[in-house]
């Protein structure tokens, strides 16, 4: 019953809730912002390269460096962790949204025009729905990034499962490291599987044959 002991002493139920709380906020915000930027750069192709380059640059920073860079501005804890996750996860979502909107078959755009849809109506009724499978792919990548960064937040007192891992590492408590590490891994796999199911549903619903 060692697992139960470790679970209780490390407050893993609470840590899991903290973890999922930060995770949901970060991923939700990244999705909204990412899709938003994706649509904006699609509508203004002139700025597309610049914006995607900036996001790419953020992406090339090592995650731990990004976290540390935010400390002077946001202090310790959940806030910089969430912000870092968002910054990190915007790129895959934005990039897939942009590519998805752009690569909708010209023929559908043409027919939408010819039956009398305005460009906004085409965006809303044709481009966005048809880009959903790709956007979901970006979302899935973002999910994995977010999971990693939230766990890293344990380093800067953000709470969540990373805290339990940190404790285990400092005390060199193998049981804690194993239980917290495995649980974090299992959680990530489950969440990714859920995202995978959503992605394939969207693929079936909106994909092209």
């Amino acid at each position: 019953m060692q697992v139960v002991d470790v679970w209780d002493s490390q407050l893993l139920t609470m840590r899991t809730f903290e973890h999922l709380y930060m995770f949901s906020i970060a991923l939700f915000s990244a999705t909204i912002i990412g899709i938003g930027i994706g649509i904006i750069v699609f509508l203004h192709p002139k700025i597309a390269d610049t914006v995607l380059n900036i996001l790419n640059t953020i992406e090339t920073l090592p995650d731990i460096a990004l976290l540390v860079l935010l400390l002077p501005f946001l202090g310790l804890g959940a806030k910089p962790t969430i912000v870092a996750s968002i910054l990190y996860s915007i790129l895959p979502i934005t990039r897939n949204t942009y590519v998805g909107l752009k690569s909708v078959n010209k023929e559908y755009i043409y027919i939408a025009q010819s039956i009398g849809l305005s460009s906004n109506e085409i965006l809303l009724n044709v481009r966005i729905p048809m880009a959903l499978p790709l956007i979901a792919g970006g979302f899935r990548i973002a999910l994995v990034f977010t999971m990693g960064l939230i766990t890293l937040g344990g380093l800067i007192a953000a709470g969540g499962l990373g805290t339990a891992l940190q404790t285990g590492i400092y005390l060199y408590d193998v049981d804690t490291i194993l239980v917290a590490g495995l649980w974090t891994g299992v959680l990530a796999v489950i969440l990714d599987a859920v995202a995978g199911i959503i992605e394939s549903r969207l693929q079936v619903r909106y994909g092209i044959w």
């Binding site: 023929e107 559908y108 043409y110 027919i111 939408a112 025009q113 010819s114 039956i115 009398g116 849809l117 305005s118 109506e121 009724n125 044709v126 729905p129 048809m130 619903r205 909106y206 994909g207 092209i208 044959w209």
Partner: protein, 375 residues
């Protein structure tokens, strides 16, 4: 926000000295064309002759470089393009149904954007599906990929009619279908054309289709309109060699006595042969997959008649095999004379015959088709 109707009926569509150029390439040159209210005008010509460009200039998908296009004497450049297009139905060869929308959503897309209620949209979609001979119950909630090519083409027409437009543009709507299905849809379209009673501009490269459907035919070549007139005028008084080539004017001299059934039949492949023991449901499935809407039924390799998709779909909920519902079909040998075949068809009141060659079904013989080619 509902779009105001720009015109309730078409008196005339007028193109005056219209030119469209892409760089060096002239797509349409100084074109004068009048489409009269209520007529079906066909534009025909080799590819690259400018017929599709002409069609697309009328709903402003392409804007002319020179010249004026008016509908009921209003310059179309004064209309908002989106509003103009919602007043003009448009059907294209590749159908272009949106794969992520159900049939109801596809047909009801523009009505929804126009702010119709869900009930109004459903009623309209039902009405239109009935109109194109598809049962609303079995089709409303399906996706385009679950439909055969012919069914999708009918949905394309239904979508074009959704806003009840007084003017319809059709760009080779039957071009992608196999010859037999194309003939079936042309026959259907000929019937509903009377009912819809609208002005239609129809582009094709198939002269038989032009003769079958058109009130008047305009022949285009090299970005110009060469001649326009009724089928009779074109056949009897072709303006030049090109026109007589296209309308094949010499065929009026063809002598019926020399023609045999095989010269006039539409060949069929094994795709069209169904076993009598097959259930109606399986037959519909196979027709959808292979994109045919008519099949010859064989009982122990002996043809016993034919079935049509439109009848089969009404039977799929009953436990019937093709043997129970097959319609008899007259059988001809490929060497029969046309005259005797026509007489036999006339006696039986049918419009379709099966042609056998060496004990195997080799083609179908359509009454309309033969009459048309013998003009």
């Amino acid at each position: 926000m509902p779009t105001q109707r720009l015109f309730d009926r078409i008196n005339s569509v007028h193109l005056q000295q219209v030119t469209k150029q892409y760089g060096e390439h002239v797509a349409v040159k100084q074109l004068d064309l009048e489409i009269q209210g209520g007529e079906l005008l066909i534009l025909i010509g080799p590819s690259g002759s400018g017929k599709t460009t002409t069609l697309r200039m009328i709903n402003r998908l392409i804007e002319p470089d020179e010249g004026v296009i008016t509908i009921n004497d209003h310059n179309i450049m004064d209309f908002d393009p989106v509003r103009l297009r919602r007043n003009i139905g448009y059907v294209i060869q590749d159908i272009g149904l949106f794969p992520h929308m159900t049939i109801r959503e596809n047909i009801g897309l523009v009505p929804r954007l126009e702010g119709w209620s869900g009930q109004e949209i459903s009623d309209r979609v039902r009405h239109l599906l009935d109109f194109v001979s598809l049962s609303p119950e079995s089709f409303m909630d399906r996706y385009p990929r679950q439909l055969s090519g012919g069914q999708q083409q009918r949905i394309g027409l239904a979508r074009a009619l959704a806003m009840d437009p007084p003017l319809l543009l059709m760009d080779e709507p039957f071009g992608a279908l196999d010859p037999i299905l194309r003939k079936q849809l042309q026959d259907e379209f000929n019937i509903i054309k009377q009912e819809i009673g609208r002005t239609i501009l129809f582009v094709t490269h198939d002269i038989d289709e032009a003769f079958k459907l058109g009130d008047r035919i305009g022949i285009m070549s090299d970005a110009r309109l060469i001649q326009i007139g009724t089928p009779e005028e074109l056949i009897l008084h072709p303006e030049n060699e090109l026109v007589s080539d296209i309308v094949d004017a010499k065929k009026k001299f063809k002598h019926m006595d020399t023609l045999r059934v095989k010269d006039m039949m539409s060949p069929i492949t094994d795709t069209y042969l169904f076993d009598a023991g097959m259930t109606a449901q399986d037959a519909v499935k196979r027709m959808t997959q292979t994109n045919v809407e008519l099949a010859i039924v064989l009982d122990n390799s002996v043809p016993v008649g034919y079935v049509e998709m439109a009848h089969l779909v009404q039977q799929i909920y009953y436990d019937v095999t093709l043997r129970d519902i097959v319609e008899p079909i007259p059988i001809f040998s490929s060497n029969d004379h046309i005259a005797s075949a026509l007489e036999k068809l006339k006696d039986r009141g049918g419009s379709l015959g099966l042609v056998m060659e060496a004990e195997r079904p080799s083609g179908l013989f359509f009454l309309n088709d033969v009459l048309l080619r013998l003009i």
